[in-house]
């Protein structure tokens, strides 16, 4: 068993009197696809925010690639290999699909403005590298036909794929995906599972996934954590977690109490 | 304490200049606050009023006072028209495009003004108020300078309560603070934005009419090539004045106008290196005001977000 690439240790977040995350311990190994399950309000997105640095935890540690990152700014964690998608779109409207994917490679490229203006070899190498990755990304998310289009010309589902490709262009070692299937058509959801596996196989990055589509979540995840009221209530393979009485209770109990089944 | 005559005379020029800045700034603030446009075309729109005044008096032979009133209304109409024709079609979120369009309108107004003036290098315009010299102590000042300052103060005094308490004023403020909520409350955003543009531009027209026809004392005034450039010589200090109130506070914009006007004229009395470089002082002041982000003192957070959104 290799060391986890991402782990949290006793991670606790409080909002006023409410404990949103209560001593959460998780560990994700390199190249693993891990699902995060839980009813609405369980604290899933809060956990993502705490890991990626958009919320400051009250206590506990976040360890990324062997480094403690809980006090770092979000962009510093990006530099250490953490990629993340959001529930809302974050793309550049004035750039084409291709250029959105190139901008995301910013931290991996080196050529400066003078090299670019004089077309020096360092610029050529940069652009060749960027182009190769763009081609690969366009293939992975099937966006080739839209490469010269602008984000506002694309459908919502296509935009989600572009966003995914854009985060992948950061070449993360861990990818946090927050409900990637939301808002896209059923046909595209079915393509998403194999796509995530392909991303992992080709890039070797670990994927940590929040998803309400249970078919997708259980189909793709090698391990699943179940979260409720800010606590990890179960952990194991998809089958183990799906059969866990506490998980069923948390969903069914909610369903009865609130009449809002998430699955 | 008796002030020396030159000081009083210079101060009176400063008051007149300050009145112009104050009126321009008032319009800039009104337009920015309700519609989010930094109106770089403000001088150009005011210029329409001045050119209309010239045409009405010299070509149509109208009485100067009547012509002045009509011209102010025409300047207001040009502002309303430019909102309806151009600015209402641009999303407020796109500041760069808004500014570029305002620059285009400024260019348009300046060239049209040159055309209407017949491409003369200088154009004489007659005064529309009686000009006389008034003795203050042992100094002589022009009556029109006092009138200009008085008019600006009077308009500000009337305008501020109106903006605060009248139905239209309240609607304007509602549009400024939250367009969505205002439209939910049945306030027509575009109607009140048009009103803001009309009032702002009319004030700009009045500002020009208070100073240009009197630049040569009782012999009238001269419209020079400087006046027919897109920004004139007055727009930068007017922006400075508006920035005193963070581009959003009306009373402080008026105060700022007088501060800039009087300071600029008083500097004539300063040692020559400074008196020939008055715009440097204005620039330093403006940059300080900009860097202080004065707007944060005057607007509630929601309104600032509405402006920057």
């Amino acid at each position: 068993m290799s060391e986890p690439i991402l782990s949290t240790n006793g991670l606790t977040v409080r909002f006023g009197g409410i404990t949103a995350l209560d001593r959460v311990d998780i560990g994700i190994r390199p190249g693993e696809i891990v699902g995060l399950l839980g009813p609405n309000g369980a604290g899933k997105t809060t956990l993502f925010n705490a890991i990626s640095g958009f919320i400051k935890p009250d206590s506990g540690r976040v360890v990324l690639d062997g480094q403690e990152v809980q006090t770092m700014f979000p962009y510093e964690r990006v530099t250490l290999g953490l990629g993340r998608t959001f529930q809302h779109q974050r793309l550049f409207r004035g750039l084409t699909v291709e250029d959105n994917l190139r901008v995301a490679q910013h931290r991996h490229l080196k050529a400066g403005p003078i090299a670019a203006m004089l077309r020096l070899p360092s610029w050529r190498r940069d652009e060749a590298e960027a182009r190769a990755l763009v081609e690969q990304m366009l293939d992975v998310v099937n966006l080739r036909p839209w490469r010269t289009r602008f984000p506002w010309e694309l459908s919502y589902g296509t935009l989600r794929f572009l966003e995914l490709a854009s985060v992948l262009s950061l070449r993360p070692s861990v990818l946090l995906l927050d409900e990637p299937a939301t808002g896209i058509q059923q046909k595209e959801v079915e393509a998403l599972g194999p796509m995530l596996k392909r991303i992992r196989d080709e890039t070797g990055c670990a994927i940590f996934l929040i998803e309400h589509d249970m078919g997708l979540l259980f189909g793709v995840s090698e391990r699943v954590y179940a979260l409720d009221f800010g606590k990890i209530i179960a952990e194991g393979t998809a089958d183990e977690v799906a059969a866990d009485p506490r998980v069923l209770e948390s969903y069914l109990g909610r369903t009865r109490r609130e009449g809002a089944a998430s699955a | 304490m008796v002030l020396a005559a030159p000081v009083i005379e210079v101060a009176s020029f400063g008051l007149a200049r300050g009145a112009v800045y104050a009126l321009l700034a008032l319009g800039l603030v009104l337009i920015y606050r309700t519609t989010g446009v930094t109106n770089f075309a403000h001088w150009g729109l005011g210029l329409f009023g001045l050119v209309a005044y010239f045409l009405l008096t010299s070509k149509a032979g109208m009485s100067p006072v009547l012509a002045a009133i009509l011209s102010v209304l025409l300047a207001g109409a040009s502002g309303a028209a430019s909102y309806q024709a151009v600015f209402r079609h641009v999303k407020r979120t796109n500041q760069v495009v808004l500014i570029l369009i305002a620059l285009g309108v400024a260019q348009f107004a300046a060239v049209v003004a040159q055309m209407l003036l017949g491409f003369e290098a200088t154009t004489l315009v007659e005064p529309w108020l009686p000009v006389s010299r008034v003795n203050v102590g042992n100094a002589a000042v022009f009556s029109t300078q006092i009138v200009a300052a008085g008019a600006a103060i009077a308009i500000a005094m009337m305008f501020l309560p109106w903006f605060r308490y009248s139905r239209t004023g309240r609607a304007l403020r509602a549009v400024a603070q939250n367009r969505e909520a205002a439209s939910l409350a049945g306030i027509d955003e575009h109607r009140y934005s048009t009103i803001a543009w009309a009032i702002g531009s009319a004030l700009a027209g009045l500002a020009l009419l208070l100073i240009i026809p009197f630049t040569a004392g009782d012999r009238g005034g001269v419209i020079t090539a400087v006046e027919t450039t897109p920004f004139g010589n007055f727009l930068i200090p007017a922006f400075g004045a508006a920035l005193v109130g963070g581009l959003v506070n009306l009373p402080l914009a008026v105060v700022g106008g007088f501060v800039f006007g009087i300071a600029q004229e008083m500097m004539i009395l300063a040692p020559s290196w400074w008196s020939t470089r008055r715009s440097v002082v204005a620039a330093i002041l403006i940059v300080i005001l900009l860097l202080a982000h004065t707007e944060r003192f005057f607007v509630v957070r929601a309104e600032q977000e509405a402006l920057e959104a």
Binding site: P30, R171, S173 | Q107, L243, V287
Partner: protein
């Protein structure tokens, strides 16, 4: 970094035998490029047909294209509205004047000095741009330009006094660029080189960082882009381009009066530069060239004919507003859209393009006839 580097290389290897669609497109692209090159060369010789005056105008266009390029970088790429571009030109022109006319430097050494001389002012604007966004930066640059006109450009040693420095056209060994044709070739070559450089900047790490900051500063930072550095780079590059343009501006006119860099003329010219950059296509280096052609046709060819000048000015403002409302990419965007339409539906789009172009020509002819009557 264990992720994409290795697979990326295999992707290159796989892509080496290009897929069909790509190989189909390559020759077409090349043919279009050849055609464009031929058309360009033909256009390049066009001024010869008008003799000395034609060459002078063409050199003017080339110099003005350099000035427009600085706006492309600062406003088009990085999204900062600077209302002082002509001030940078003035710094370049006066620096060249001092270096050549006073110190006796060769022109070729004065050009890099002119570019470097703009850097302190760029850095000053850059320092302001960190804290000032959008309209606040526009106001700040307007006042900077105004204030520099009353300080830097009142300094006789720098500007050469009221009349300005007098400089001869440059020489390179036995090769003299004093003739109209030689200077035209020199300036058009320099301008095209700069267009090429600025175009290259757009497709690079630094250029894309500027575009990203323009579109969404916060998001750009989330990708690890240093927004301050991107803006400062744009300002320094833009300023240096304007400085080089200023050196050529002086070489073209042989003397430049300082009043042009003082209020209100500096604001006037800066505004004209911005307006025509937008019409040409503000985020495109080629657009700068188009804007320069249009601007010079307006201001120089019809210098005496005030009415033509004014009608074109009104028409330009009108076109600017229409473009900003409907085609913010300017002429370049219109041409691109039209080209795409022709590719999709030639039978309809070709006549439509011809009619549209014809209307434009007709408007300009009407302005000329009516204005010059």
């Amino acid at each position: 970094m264990k992720s994409l580097v290795a697979p990326a290389e295999t992707a290159v290897a796989e892509a080496a035998p290009p897929p069909k669609s790509l190989s189909m497109r390559m020759p077409r692209l090349k043919r279009a490029q050849v055609l464009a090159g031929v058309a360009f060369l033909a256009l390049g010789f066009l001024p010869l047909a008008f003799g000395s005056f034609g060459l002078y105008i063409a050199a003017y266009v080339a110099v003005w294209a350099m000035l427009e390029l600085s706006i492309v970088v600062v406003t088009g790429y990085a999204g900062m509205i600077s209302l002082m571009p002509f001030t940078f030109v003035g710094i370049g022109a006066c620096t060249t004047g001092v270096a050549v006319a006073v110190w006796g430097w060769p022109f070729w050494l004065a050009v890099p000095l002119a570019a470097l001389a703009t850097v302190p002012v760029s850095v000053m604007v850059g320092a302001a741009s960190v804290r000032l966004k959008g309209l606040y930066l526009a106001i700040a640059t307007l006042t900077f330009g105004n204030a520099l006109g009353e300080t830097l450009f009142k300094w006789d040693d720098f500007t050469g006094g009221q009349a300005g420095h007098v400089m001869e056209r440059p020489k390179l060994g036995a090769l003299s660029f004093s003739g109209d044709f030689a200077f035209y070739v020199l300036s058009i070559a320099t301008a095209l080189l700069m267009v090429w450089a600025v175009h290259g900047l757009k497709n690079s790490r630094a250029g894309r960082a500027m575009l990203a900051v323009r579109d969404n500063e916060r998001e750009a930072q989330a990708l690890g882009i240093n927004a301050t550095k991107a803006k400062l780079t744009a300002l320094v590059v833009g300023g240096m381009i304007a400085g080089v343009g200023g050196a050529f501006y002086l070489a073209l006119l042989e003397t430049v009066a300082r009043s042009g860099f003082q209020s209100p003329y500096v604001e006037l010219t800066s505004l004209l530069l911005v307006v025509w950059a937008v019409i040409g296509g503000i985020d495109s280096a080629f657009g700068a060239f188009l804007g320069a052609i249009a601007l010079i046709t307006q201001t120089v060819v019809f210098q005496g004919a005030e009415r033509v000048f004014a009608y074109v000015g009104v028409y330009a403002a009108f076109v600017l507003i229409i473009f900003l409302l409907l085609r913010p990419g300017g002429i370049v965007q219109v041409v691109k859209i039209q080209a795409e339409r022709i590719r999709e539906n030639p039978s309809r789009a070709i006549p439509a393009s011809i009619i549209g172009f014809g209307i434009q020509v007709a408007i300009i002819v009407v302005i000329l006839v009516y204005g010059a009557e």
